[in-house]
């Protein structure tokens, strides 16, 4: 069961999309899993032949549980549909720290566990010999966590709130946040966008969020200390810049799936992907790869009139950028005060990784990129 974010502790396997004997390619959807965020398409990050399926549809299992075994992996089962490359590994490590991935167990216990659809790693009671016995497995089968549950329906909103609460509590407990704010004259970007959109029919136009995502991605690729993960070995910078975008769920809650390699994509591509992402977030067809992939997150409150927001870092990431509403404000230009569209950029960053000085450079980079929108 892959971790689809720091706020996920368990998931319910809804449906298998693969069968034993089938050849699976990287990126194929292997299963549907229900989480607090809805039903997610789990993609394989490996290529191989499916040997057997371990977890039965309807079972709710903790993050880190092996779901299926690919041929040649029997000795150390891995999550077939698991973890997209980098991020989920980090997330899964954090979520399941201290738990062995392939616990020792007797052959009878292993066979029984497979038959019952129980992951051996989820069994806490080890016998005196230090390995899992048949009795341990049978006892575990009676535990609520391991027992099959009725096939789920729509995700309940109450649990989204609980999941967000858990992730944000963890963030505030573990991450020493610092905050910076920078106000900028948004005239150049607004004018550029206006001209760009004027020449295009509605479906080809850009939202200003797209400029913010691209500018942030560029800066994250250029200034060290804001793009990557904080894991057991400290900060692991990421080469790739996958920008998580906070998207509100209807009826409350939010998720932050990623636009992959946002620093290298043209604005029109980012717009298309954002459009697609928002649609799937709201219709419930997110993919595991994009849910756990973000190397940093951006969030914006849109046009509600809030000029600055002070976001909380989404672990194991180390920074989050907030964009307020663009509002007309007095702005000093060459000794005179003029009315200008003003945008406030805020940064919450992890003090274990960076200092305010680097944070200031990072925000200044984003501003400078937005001052030259034609180069984005």
């Amino acid at each position: 069961m892959p971790s689809l974010g720091a706020d996920m502790e368990a998931g319910t396997l809804v449906e298998w999309r693969i069968a034993p004997g089938q050849h699976v390619h990287r990126g194929d959807v292997v299963a549907l899993v229900e989480t607090e965020k809805g039903i997610i398409d789990i993609e394989s990050f490996e290529e191989g032949l499916v040997e057997r399926l371990i977890v039965q549809p309807g079972s709710r299992v903790p993050v880190g549980t092996a779901l299926a075994v690919f041929a040649g992996e029997a000795a150390a089962p891995q999550d077939a549909g698991a973890a997209p490359p980098q991020p989920a590994t980090a997330a899964a490590t954090a979520a399941t720290a201290g738990r062995e991935r392939a616990p020792r167990a007797s052959p009878a216990a292993r066979a029984k566990a497979v038959a019952l659809g129980i992951d051996l790693a989820s069994i806490p009671d080890r016998g005196p010999q230090g390995f899992i016995t048949l009795q341990d497995v049978e006892r575990a089968a009676g535990r609520p966590g391991a027992a099959p549950v009725a096939p789920p329906t729509a995700a309940s909103r109450g649990t989204v709130r609980t999941a967000i609460g858990a992730a944000m509590s963890r963030s505030k407990r573990e991450i020493p946040h610092y905050y910076l704010r920078l106000a900028m004259d948004f005239t150049a970007a607004a004018r550029w966008l206006e001209r760009y959109n004027e020449a295009r029919a509605v479906p080809e136009r850009l939202l200003s969020t797209v400029l913010l995502i691209k500018a942030s991605a560029r800066a994250a690729g250029a200034v060290l200390g804001f793009n990557g993960y904080f894991g057991v070995n400290g900060f692991e910078p990421s080469q790739a810049v996958h920008v998580g975008v906070a998207i509100a769920l209807r009826g409350g809650g939010l998720v932050a799936p990623a636009i992959l390699d946002a620093n290298q994509k043209p604005l029109a591509t980012i717009m298309l992907e954002l459009h697609d992402l928002v649609g799937r977030v709201r219709s419930g067809h997110m993919r595991s790869g994009e849910l756990a992939a973000a190397t940093l997150t951006v969030t914006s409150l849109g046009e509600e009139g809030v000029d600055s927001l002070y976001p909380i870092i989404y672990p194991p990431q180390v920074a989050i950028i907030g964009f307020g509403s663009v509002l007309e404000r007095p702005w000093a230009v060459a000794g005179r005060v003029e009315a200008r569209p003003v945008l406030n950029l805020t940064l919450a960053a992890d003090h274990r990784v960076s200092d305010g000085r680097q944070g200031a450079q990072f925000l200044a980079r984003i501003r400078d990129a937005l001052l030259r929108p034609e180069e984005l």
């Binding site: 206006e194 959109n197 004027e198 029919a201 509605v202 479906p203 136009r205 939202l207 200003s208 969020t209 509100a248 209807r250 009826g251 954002l274 459009h275 928002v278 849109g302 046009e303």
Partner: protein
């Protein structure tokens, strides 16, 4: 599609587009004068989709500067009546 000829027809078409974008919207409960944003969490992407749907459905080119007129149901109807050839008919 033949041009819409009455306010009622325009309204039902606009509501259908709206429900298409936000399936949880109850068309009977939409308050005509109140901005969509305040009624059902319409964000910038929803509005983008809505404008694109109006563009496609009515075959209209809608410049961005007209967007403020489209933020409520009543605003949309007034705008469409003014822009569509047969839209002004009762």
């Amino acid at each position: 599609m033949s041009p819409p000829t009455s306010v009622a027809s325009l309204e039902s078409q606009v509501l259908a587009l709206l429900v298409d974008i936000a399936p949880d919207v109850d068309p009977a409960a939409v308050r005509p004068e109140q901005p969509f944003r305040d009624q059902f969490d319409f964000d910038s992407m929803d509005f983008f989709n809505f404008a694109a749907a109006l563009h496609q459905h009515f075959g209209l080119d809608i410049p961005e500067r007209d967007y403020p007129q489209l933020t409520s149901l009543a605003g949309c109807i007034a705008y469409l009546r003014q822009r569509l050839p047969g839209g002004a008919a009762p």
